[in-house]
Symmetry: C2
Subunit: 505 residues, 2 copies
């Protein structure tokens, strides 16, 4: 590399690292807001967040970045898009073009509409009144369509929105895989509903003292591999994971004394996210190849630990003794098989975030189909509640009694997050594919889990997924790791096998 | 005010608010570092702190601020230096001139020397080896002298350094008051040492469970008036108070199961700081007149609640029953008078932060005299340990057995904080003067405290001190509130009366 190009590349990297570093300060402000900040601090915190967002945007759209990129993209040093330099320049150029394609006034309108939108949504949900929310949602859909137009697309305006969260993925491909998944899921859900087996879920609603839940969750998180010397676990209203720096990854959960599995599996879920963040290549921190691949791949890591590992029989063969010791009153008289049934209870329900491993994907599918139709102008916002209820009846056999428990349940649309929902289902699909491959590569995996040794699995994930950062697209990574494209078979085999056994199908 | 000047003033205010807002982000990063951050996050956090410090400096020294100030200072609208506009412009001009007087390379040298200095100091203290620290301290003293020269002074180079923390105060005045204080203190310390009365301090080293200490401390903090809806109490190695925004003031403490009074009185101390921050005028937040007056005045608020209130007999007449209920094993068999004696034990000691209300000021005096001599080049760093020990022998009658417990005990000099120590003693002096005035203005004050009602005292502090922000200098404020200049009589009367009684002098 010539000295001049080397210098340009270093300047570009420094700018990327600086923007990331400011972004991580934002993460701290958000983490603190959701876990520690006293209520009266909210207004000032919002000002600080807006200031930092503006600063990041200013750094990311600085004209010199465009000049540096022009200089580098035509050079031979970026010819290999999978080399360090090639991959970094590819992503930085992609981000820069997206940032600069969006007119400043559209960005500001969207920011404002979504900030207000979330407030209006909270009120509308509280009042169970979709009409209160409708005009604001119409405005947000219109602005998201404008955003899609500004970003450009060939097949559908949903493509550039999906691409924000799952780079390189297309609407047509996601639609195909999710409809195949749906066709395979609906009969399974029906068969489970028709089964005479019913797990006793009441044991999970016994009294589980919060202190002990916390200690037990931390113990499991540590044993799985979460590094508490470079992370924390705190309490929040809505569990999340956030990266504050190369040595600082924080996860959160919420506790309910009478709902053991809520906090426990949300800890496992966030630990999965956290292990991914802790496994990203530190030497590239602040550069694209030091970042995660996509929301879908991130979700695959959380779901793999939560479901494939945490809801398996092998996992509880190891941990159930400790759980009984921790909660003697709640679990002392419960057999592990009863407990295993309870944590794998499947039943159609109205609320996505409370859904089981099987029906969850149908909740996502409904949202994906609806938001795609909204963005493609095939569905009007005024007709959304009806369309929502119709799909719940068709796919899950239940109709929401009101909009609060129906179309108004999720924050996403009020926050402008169109194209985000499908990544939850992609995460489930990727997780099943990755776990199948891990089992093939590690014949002793199940035995490992049975004796509480997760080191080989974690090393496998580090080597195959984490260490690559964003070098590959989601599709490339899945193909590379599993020698197969994104497909529904792995997840369906997992679900059919596991739930066939539990429900005697 | 003309439209043009009004616009200029608003721009200046916006710039001040923005710099403050970034400074408050720094406060969050520091708070998190000391209370929550996992160890592995330290290096990245340091980078973020350096970035924000640079950003604040850049905002504070922007050339347009100088232009706006030039425009405003000559106008009739700033003629009254105690009006909102006059006071804000006065302080912003003062700050701007100080910031721009310092050559950039001196600022950077100082920043680097002090960052390294603190590391070297930690090692030197651990090794009990002053020689390890000497060269770095010599460099820091030299740079502080350069800083003083750049800022300018008439009487002594110590003046501009002291002025950083106690604006408008002079070395000669502080030296006079502190030497008067010393002359009055030394005989009192001697008389106490000669007394046959000895409080039984062992009761404070019984077992006080940390959970209960925390709950008891929070209960007292709340009853005193600390607003937990706009603040928090957390655990840290070195207790502090920090303001994160107009509705977010955080205090910290540390707990030792066998040292009740350590955590309790540090909570009261930090609550005193916190009440001041919570009482500053919100409508001026981010402007000078929305800020605290000085370190000394801030310390007066913490010391007043810690000592004048919290170590008084009246205070424990109210709270001792609750304390006995909270700690039945430790205090059940202890009379309130015994407890009162124990929390007011006076004895010459080596370590400043562990010193009692009486001897504390002698620790400060020693540091003040030594650092003044260093800055005035009357004392060489190489001679500092000897001078330190000689003064401890002279004022406190004890000689440190080693430098770790002597000259190496405080972080301040390694961090370049010359001129900071006297504000601790000024805080004690102001606190006594303010409390005397409060007693005069509120004849029922002691009765109020005896029944646990602190509202009148807090209102008095709000009205007389907090609400004025930085409108007055420390000297003006003290004169305004107490109709008397800074003096040692109020503190000495308080100490003589209280300890005369306890020790039967």
């Amino acid at each position: 590399m010539t000295a001049q190009l080397e210098k340009t590349y270093q300047q570009l990297c420094d700018a990327s690292r600086e923007a990331t570093m400011i972004g991580r300060i934002q993460h701290l402000l958000e983490w603190d807001e959701h876990t520690k900040m006293p209520q009266a601090g909210a207004a000032y915190r919002a000002d600080q967040m807006a200031f930092l967002a503006g600063l990041v945007h200013q750094k990311q759209t600085a004209p010199e970045i465009g000049e540096w990129l022009d200089e580098l993209v035509d050079s031979e040093f970026t010819a290999d898009p999978k080399s360090d330099i090639g991959a970094n320049v590819y992503h930085l150029k992609r981000d820069y073009e997206k940032q600069t394609k969006l007119p400043q006034d559209l960005v500001e309108q969207l920011t404002r509409a979504c900030a207000v939108g979330q407030q209006v949504w909270i009120e509308a949900r509280k009042a169970d009144d979709f009409e209160q929310f409708r005009p604001k949602l119409e405005e947000i859909v219109r602005l998201k369509r404008e955003q899609a137009a500004a970003l450009g697309y060939e097949a559908t305006p949903y493509d550039p929105l999906l691409d924000e969260y799952e780079p390189g993925e297309t609407t047509v491909n996601v639609a195909r895989v999710l409809s195949e998944l749906r066709d395979a899921l609906v009969p399974l859900v029906q068969a489970i509903a028709d089964s005479s087996q019913r797990p006793d879920v009441s044991i999970l609603a016994r009294k589980y003292s919060i202190d002990v839940q916390e200690a037990f969750g931390e113990q499991v998180a540590e044993q799985i591999g979460f590094d508490f010397g470079a992370g924390r676990l705190d309490v929040t209203a809505h569990p999340f994971c956030t990266g504050l720096g190369p040595g600082d990854v924080r996860i959160t959960t919420r506790y309910d004394e009478h709902a053991f599995s809520d906090a426990f599996f949300s800890i496992l879920h966030e630990v999965g996210h956290g292990l991914y963040d802790q496994g990203l290549p530190r030497e590239h921190y602040g550069l694209p190849i030091g970042e995660d691949v996509s929301l879908g791949i991130h979700e695959s890591q959380s779901r793999l630990w939560e479901n494939q590992v945490g809801r398996s029989h092998a996992f509880w063969e190891h941990f159930y003794g400790a759980a009984q010791q921790a909660f003697p009153d709640a679990l002392g008289d419960v057999a592990v098989s009863t407990f295993y049934g309870a944590i794998n209870d499947v039943r159609p329900s109205l609320i996505r975030v409370e859904a089981d491993e099987v029906t969850y994907n149908l909740h996502i599918l409904i949202r994906f189909e609806l938001e795609q139709a909204l963005i493609e102008d095939r569905l009007q916002v005024a007709d959304l509640p009806g369309a929502w209820n119709e799909k719940y009846e068709r796919f899950l056999g239940i109709t929401p009694p009101n909009d609060a428990e129906g179309v108004l349940q999720d924050v996403h649309w009020s926050a402008g997050l169109f194209g985000y929902f499908p990544t939850y289902a992609l995460g489930n699909l990727y997780a099943a594919q990755f776990f199948d491959q891990a089992k093939e590569d590690l014949p002793i995996l199940e035995a490992d889990i049975r004796r509480g040794d997760f080191s080989a699995l974690l090393s496998w994930l580090r080597a195959n997924i984490h260490q690559h950062g964003r070098r590959y697209t989601p599709a490339e990574l899945v193909e590379r790791v599993t020698s197969s494209p994104l497909q529904h078979d792995a997840l369906m085999s997992h679900l059919n096998e596991k739930y066939g056994e539990i429900y005697g199908l």
